[in-house]
């Protein structure tokens, strides 16, 4: 299993490079994961998306679709793609410490 080292601690990752254990997640780790995705700075809007994803996952066991992000997170589609240029749903899930979303939409 792959691991990443953050401040001297080895964090386990799953096959997609997402956190293997959600309990490892904290805000510093989120910043580290964001940097890996080419996002050097997490703005308040990034955090809105990340926190929304964590909230939905907590309740439903899967990350929200891009449509739900658009409708319910308070950040519209255009902005979502500006915040996460390499694909909002997937990248935001990674930064949020969640597994890759299962849905197609």
């Amino acid at each position: 299993m792959e691991t990443m080292n953050v401040t001297g601690k080895a964090i386990q990752l799953d096959a997609d490079g997402h956190l293997a254990n959600r309990s490892d997640w904290n805000e510093d780790l989120a910043r580290e994961l964001a940097a890996q995705e080419g996002i050097p700075d997490l703005t308040p809007q990034h955090w809105t998306v990340v926190n929304f994803m964590r909230k939905v996952f907590e309740k439903e066991g899967d990350a929200p679709s891009i449509r739900r992000l658009t409708k319910e997170s308070g950040v519209d589609t255009k902005t979502l793609y500006q915040l996460f240029p390499k694909g909002p749903a997937k990248r935001a899930a990674k930064i949020a410490g969640l597994p890759k979303p299962k849905g197609c939409i």
């Binding site: 679709s65 891009i66 449509r67 739900r68 658009t70 519209d76 589609t77 255009k78 793609y81 240029p85 390499k86 694909g87 909002p88 749903a89 997937k90 990248r91 849905g103 197609c104 939409i105």
Partner: protein
């Protein structure tokens, strides 16, 4: 030992939508949206009856084909009964809503906002005497097949 994967990931897709039925349009839209979600560059080219999906007056009233569609598992005569197509369409829309698949108009707007370019086929536009104002705002440009190939340079072309 880990195996090294030497296959290059897909960078860009150009998706052609040529059918105007609900089941003819959705797969291409889902693939375009899915590409953008993966960070893959995407464009959509609507041709022939596929244009209905970006024509303002028609885009939200596309129907499932209940005749000549073996996938419906319905005898042709039954499929031809009045209201059958509307009924099948209603059922399908309900199921899609459960999966968070948006209605066509909303989906096109979402895909366009995601950075996917939307083109209409010049030959079809001329053939059906269509004007810019017939199309939804998201339609970026009416282009010829030649322009389509130019814009699709380096992309995987997917015909639906």
């Amino acid at each position: 030992m880990t195996q090294t994967n030497t296959v290059e990931p897909i960078q860009k897709v150009s998706i052609i939508i040529s059918h105007g039925s609900l089941e003819g349009v959705y797969p291409g839209l889902i693939m375009a949206n899915g590409a953008r979600m993966e960070g893959i560059e995407a464009s959509l080219f609507f041709t022939f009856f596929g244009l209905d999906a970006i024509i303002k007056k028609r885009m939200n009233s596309l129907k499932v084909a209940t005749v000549g569609n073996p996938g419906m598992h319905m005898p042709t005569l039954l499929g031809a009964l009045p209201g059958m197509s509307a009924f099948a369409t209603g059922m399908m829309k309900k199921e899609m809503e459960k999966l968070d698949i948006p209605p066509i108009g909303e989906f096109i707007a979402m895909i366009h906002d995601a950075g996917c370019e939307i083109y209409a086929c010049r030959a079809t536009v001329d053939m059906f005497h269509l004007k810019r104002e017939d199309f939804c705002d998201e339609m970026d440009e009416v282009i010829s097949v030649g322009q389509f190939y130019e814009k699709a340079a380096g992309a995987q072309i997917i015909f639906t």
